[in-house]
Symmetry: C2
Subunit: 217 residues, 2 copies
DNA sequence: GTCTATAGATAGATAGAC
DNA sequence: GTCTATCTATCTATAGAC
């Protein structure tokens, strides 16, 4: 179990000096993971059967065990990838800004990035939001730590904003960060593509977060 | 199944003109429900075994079926009670205000009420937050409708605020409502009693919602 | 009304052929 | 590497004694 969680990501060994040859077995493993992310997202962890995953991955239930030691090892890997992608996405949105962007602009970019990955159908990220707290305790505790590491981006963004004097003094930065993340993460529970785009939602959330719904005096 | 969901709450028949006599069987039923709420809250729906519930209710797994037709009937009843209590709590907080309270004050009261029931350990309400989307599809769909009815309080509060001119024109009321509820509901994922009280959190959330984190110009 | 015993079904995991 | 067959455990739900 612990192995599952603490083992580093398979260190893509390049068996020459060339690009990874994309072996057949890697492709199958990938299909299983993609299928798992999809099934977890759709049915939740509890109702996701290995047979559902196998079917979608066009393989057999038994075959899965050639790649993964257990059902739990599959979720763990799905969650690991989800975290990796989410962090990369948020960081990417921030990095895409011009070097002289204000801290408000960077917060806005981070919010857009987070909504984008949560709502735009990345199977792994949406599976993560959906199943995280259905997951076995050990797995959950492990990824709570990972999540906390990734929260560092937000923490430093907020600290910087306060230092720059753009955040009012009577709010607690940790609470604000957690409320903001909650508001974004929960959106998967209600958002249905339609009238409003993901960017619209992100924009509305940015207004709410930075300025509130109240009319300025 | 449908019976489970559409049946009205057991219509406390008073077999005289007196107060309900609190039969023994009612007490047992109540113990089972309380136990179920606790176990659901603690382990999630998927991992909650009828044997866990029976043990905590000091009865036997088989005995549960004297009171409930199925495992599903138990969750349905737990969710029904949770919704009832949450609505009553939020409405109660609003009603406790003086008659001439402003709409901002009523929104603040509603926020305090919602945080209070979610974070202050009401077993039913916290079970609801924790297990809702692990629940069988039919149950979930039914309570989504119930939830939507209860959202009416928030809708009218927001509509009133806009009519009173205290909400800025460039925000979508539905999106605001959903973001606010998400921010509150997700808080159960991170809140641990400690430095900050539930009221502190609610106060911070109210500032965030009405005024935003940004410093006023 | 509450208990014990057990039926019946399901699903994760393993073994072994190919 | 992938398949089929099966073991084993678990859990909901029912039957029937008391």
């Amino acid at each position: 179990m612990n192995d599952v969680l603490t083992a580093p990501a398979p260190a893509k060994k390049s068996p020459g000096a060339k690009r990874p040859p994309l072996k057949k077995s890697d492709a199958t493993r990938q299909r299983i993971l993609d299928a798992a992310a999809h099934v977890f997202h759709t049915k939740g962890y509890a109702l996701a059967r290995l047979s559902d995953i196998a079917k979608r991955a066009k393989t057999q239930t038994g075959s899965i065990y050639y790649y993964f030691a257990s059902r739990e090892a599959i979720v763990a890997e799905v969650l690991r990838i989800a975290n990796e992608r989410t962090a990369a996405f948020v960081n990417g949105h921030i990095a895409a800004l011009p070097a002289d962007a204000s801290v408000e602009q960077r917060i806005e970019a981070a919010i857009h990035g987070h909504f984008a990955i949560v709502l735009s159908g990345d199977k792994y990220a949406s599976a993560h939001m959906r199943i995280f707290d259905q997951t076995p305790k050990k797995v959950r505790e492990h990824f709570l730590r990972v999540l906390d590491e990734h929260a560092e981006v937000w923490r430093s963004l907020f600290a910087e904003a306060r230092a720059a004097g753009v955040i009012r003094d009577d709010v607690d930065l940790s609470v604000m960060r957690l409320l903001l993340l909650g508001m974004m993460n929960w959106s998967i529970e209600w958002y249905k593509p339609g009238k409003l785009s993901v960017d619209d939602i992100a924009h509305q959330a940015t207004i709410l977060f930075l300025e509130g719904v109240g009319r300025r005096a």
